[in-house]
Amino acid sequence: MRRALLTTWYKPHALLLALLALPLLAAAAPTDTDSVAVLNRRADRPTAPRRWYLPNHLTVQTGGGIGMLSIGTGLSLAHDRLDLDVLAGYVPRQHAGTTLSVVAAKAKYSPWKLPLAPRLALTPLSVGVYTSYTWGLRNPGKPGQYPDDYYWFSNTVRVGPVLGSGLSYVLPSTTAGHPHKLTAYYELATNDLYLISYAQNRRALSLPDIATLALGLKLTF
């Protein structure tokens, strides 16, 4: 029943559009204030701290259970150690039987950053969690289709841990603004259903059996 309410209340496309529009809002935000003042401030203090609540990066990712292609944006907090991202993903029909739209939220903590070269840095370890919601499944359950608690798990909501690393490159800056940075990352992840299967079958299943891989690029602006 809960599932039915969710699908009725949230129009998937509206939510996807809203999420995709977030970076645009972020870009538009400075124009709310006096743009000249912003420019001046940037010129005076190129390293001025950005406002913490505004998205400061865009990501594009494949895999990790949240899309063949997913696009996201997010905030960096705690001296850039904590990333909070939202992503919108897409899986074409030929890979899953129906076309799937996925929205995910991800929190990732990266305690260390190792400089490798003047512009290059390694983030050796990131740990985090994600949750996702999927639209477009063939048989997610219609109201009244099943007796209560017929299937105890959700088809549409997934939760799982994430583990990864990344390599960052500071892009040559053309303006006096904040330098942009490009990060290539990978993440090993799994989800609640795979974890339960593994936890109850430690003999037959191994961690590689339940692992998924994501490869992504992150542009910090």
Binding site: G63, I66, G67, G89, V91, S197, L213
Partner: protein, 275 residues
């Protein structure tokens, strides 16, 4: 951080990334409902039937197969089942009466196949309600094959049919009666065995099709019995008191299975094996 260590870390990360990325494409999973997988884990029904055809059973020879069902989330039990079945003499194939997966996910179906392919004999499946969940129907078709199919082995025609009516929200079309009737009308084999997941006396069987289904079985003079899973426990009986015998399989978690021996027109023996 010393340069040497940094260089080492970088190389290690790149190597690990490459190994993971190139090692298997499906590791980059787009969704748990993404069913891409290795080619040797596609069309398993056709592959197992081809394997079965290589050891044909001569006319009048006794049929002997293992009957099990509902493998679901019991992966540790599958290992032991395979060991046990491989020690039984004279088993021609194994039947799994549906619910291969628990959550309708492709990986679950492959985890079961990873183990069942260790059997010395081929195995065949029919789709269960848990295999229909989410996009499981598509995953099942990709990994195993058709939802309705039949094969003849020796003197027996096996009719494998989808009876998971609730998964279609009781649309009045499951099981596919025109297909079932056509299969039962085939008179080339001496006997028929019909295998499905949900038994017709179960509340998950579409009530609109129940009478047609049971009547069709009753009218088939070649039918030895109807075989099901879903209830996770062994059972044998004639629930409709119409002379049609229904046999239910143990789930893998029960750590028991049946050895079914069939000879003559309709004579059979069921042996229970614990593992």
């Amino acid at each position: 951080m010393s340069a040497a260590l940094s260089r080492f870390s970088l190389r290690a990360v790149l190597a690990a990334g490459l190994a993971l990325g190139l090692g298997s494409c499906e590791l980059i999973e787009f969704s748990p409902n993404d069913y891409r997988g290795p080619a040797d884990q596609q069309d398993l029904t056709a592959k197992n039937l081809a394997r079965l055809a290589k050891t044909p059973l001569p006319t009048d020879d006794t049929l002997r197969f293992v009957f099990s069902g509902d493998s679901q989330r019991f992966y540790d039990d599958v290992e032991d089942l395979v060991k046990s079945v491989n020690q039984q003499p004279g088993i021609q194939f194994m039947l799994v009466s549906g619910d291969i997966a628990d959550f309708g996910l492709a990986r679950e179906m492959r985890w079961i196949d990873d183990q069942l392919r260790q059997l010395k004999m081929p195995y065949l499946t029919v789709i269960g309600n848990h295999d229909h969940v989410a996009n499981g129907r598509e995953a099942y078709q990709e990994i195993f094959g058709p939802l309705n199919y039949s094969f003849t082995f020796g003197d027996t025609k096996f009719i494998m049919t989808d009876t998971n009516g609730r998964e279609y929200n009781f649309n009045g079309q499951v099981p596919d009666m025109p297909w079932v009737n056509q299969q039962l009308a085939d008179r080339t084999a001496r006997r028929h065995v019909i295998v499905s997941h949900v038994p017709p006396q179960d509340e998950d069987f579409d009530p609109a099709v129940r009478d047609q289904y049971t009547a069709a079985l009753r009218a088939d003079p070649r039918l030895v019995f109807e075989m099901n899973g879903h209830r996770h426990d062994y059972g044998i009986g004639q629930p409709f008191n119409d002379g049609v015998t229904y046999v239910n399989s143990y789930a893998f978690e029960k750590r028991r299975y049946l050895i079914v021996t069939v000879w003559g027109d309709k004579q059979f023996r069921l042996k229970q094996v614990s593992f």
